[in-house]
């Protein structure tokens, strides 16, 4: 909450300058304010972000090497950086991963691959810096795309409708975090669950599981709304991250509505290459979901969580020929909600043993 308030605080001068400064200074002001924000939070994070941004740009556009070698080196370094950071920060519980690293590494991987395919039209350093130092999406996404970012910059002009929509999204995001997440799903629901009769062990475990997942969803969706809202105030349209995922009637549909920027990234850069190379779509699904799991944290629970998501998508694939009706769609929604909540039990607790104890309660195993 403190970090969110600080993001909004730094975004205010950014928005004011975005519409008052001459156009050629706008991106520079955005980069400077984002740099100040990251430096204020953690100077080491600023150093890492700056090094990765300049290093990757230099390697891709200035180094005198064959294109395929440059791309291979860039991808290896970026993947190694994120994997080693995740492993180090999992081993040392008191360490904190550099601010926004999980997201900007993915943005850089996207830039590198698009650069290889020749889909980067404008490769100036200023645009690349502005893309990497874009405050609204820096910390928790969405993982926006470079071509859309540049297109929005080129078409950018003051639009009162976008501006109003931006404020609306920020208000909705705050409401999701404060009213639904912090107040209803944390304070109120915790009091309700604690006051439940001790004999209601199953109900307690189920409600705890559901509130944990819903709280995580509303917090994350709220942050995404605020990021999209601030971007709109700056004149940029950032991709959506959630579109009512719990209304999905199967797990395949769920993952096209939940954390969409990450799942779209993984679909484009992990699923499609694997599925088309090996001609086995399910192999692509398993690899993608396990990588999504490990992206959160490189631990056994997250690996199992990823595998469970892949199993859910496999089940959707098995039942894809079931005739669609009101009943099947709604049964599917109940299944998706419960399947996702139950799969999250495995990552809700620090130890697998504790998670299995909760599973025993939820599935009436003595």
């Amino acid at each position: 909450m403190k970090l969110l308030a600080e993001v909004i605080l730094f975004a205010i001068p950014m928005v004011l300058l975005a519409w008052t400064l001459p156009r050629k200074y706008v991106l520079v002001s955005q980069i400077a304010i984002t740099g100040l924000f990251v430096g204020y939070q953690s100077p080491l994070s600023l150093l890492i972000l700056t090094t990765i941004t300049f290093g990757n740009y230099y390697l891709l556009h200035k180094a005198v090497l064959r294109k395929s070698i440059k791309i291979a080196i860039s991808l290896c370094i970026l993947v190694l950086l994120i994997v080693s950071a995740k492993i180090l920060f999992t081993l040392h519980n008191h360490w904190i991963i550099p601010l926004g690293m999980s997201y900007y590494i993915f943005r850089n991987i996207h830039y590198t691959i698009e650069s290889y395919h020749g889909r980067i039209q404008d490769n100036s350093l200023l645009f690349y810096l502005a893309y990497n130092f874009f405050l609204p999406v820096l910390i928790i996404g969405p993982i926006n795309r470079y071509p859309e970012f540049i297109r929005d910059w080129q078409r950018r002009r003051f639009n009162s409708e976008y501006f109003s929509l931006g404020f609306q999204r920020i208000l909705f995001g705050m409401s999701k975090i404060v009213i639904i997440g912090n107040y209803l799903l944390t304070s109120k629901s915790a009091a309700f669950i604690v006051n439940l009769d001790a004999s209601n062990v199953w109900l307690k475990a189920y409600l705890e599981t559901v509130t944990l997942v819903l709280n995580a969803y509303f917090q994350f969706a709220g942050y995404s709304d605020i990021a999209i809202g601030i971007s709109l105030l700056l004149g940029f349209r950032v991709m959506e991250n959630f579109t009512f995922p719990f209304l999905a009637s199967n797990m395949q549909e769920f993952w096209s509505k939940y954390h969409m920027s990450l799942s779209a990234f993984c679909r484009d850069y992990i699923y499609t290459p694997i599925a088309s190379y090996y001609r086995k779509p399910m192999l692509g699904v398993v690899a993608t979901m396990i990588i999504i799991g490990l992206w959160h944290e490189i631990t056994l629970p997250f690996l199992l969580w990823g595998a469970l998501q892949a199993l859910g998508i496999y089940l959707a694939f098995l039942f894809k020929n079931t005739p669609s009706s009101w009943t099947t769609r709604n049964l599917g929604r109940v299944f998706v909600f419960n399947y996702f909540c139950l799969s999250c039990v495995i990552i809700d607790y620090n130890e697998l043993g504790k998670a299995f104890e909760v599973y025993k309660i939820l599935f009436f195993i003595n």
Binding site: Q168, L171, F172, S175, V178, I179, N182, Y183, T186, S187
Partner: protein, 46 residues
Amino acid sequence: MYKFLLTYLPKTVANILIALWYFLLIVLNVYCGISATQGAFQYVGW
């Protein structure tokens, strides 16, 4: 939501309803924000 309201109501009524809706959300945000961090307020002696 605004476009939905405009299909059934006159523009002035729709505007008032939308303004009330935003006002309610802001009030709820302030109330829930303070309520959820009441402990913190007490701690700093407010």
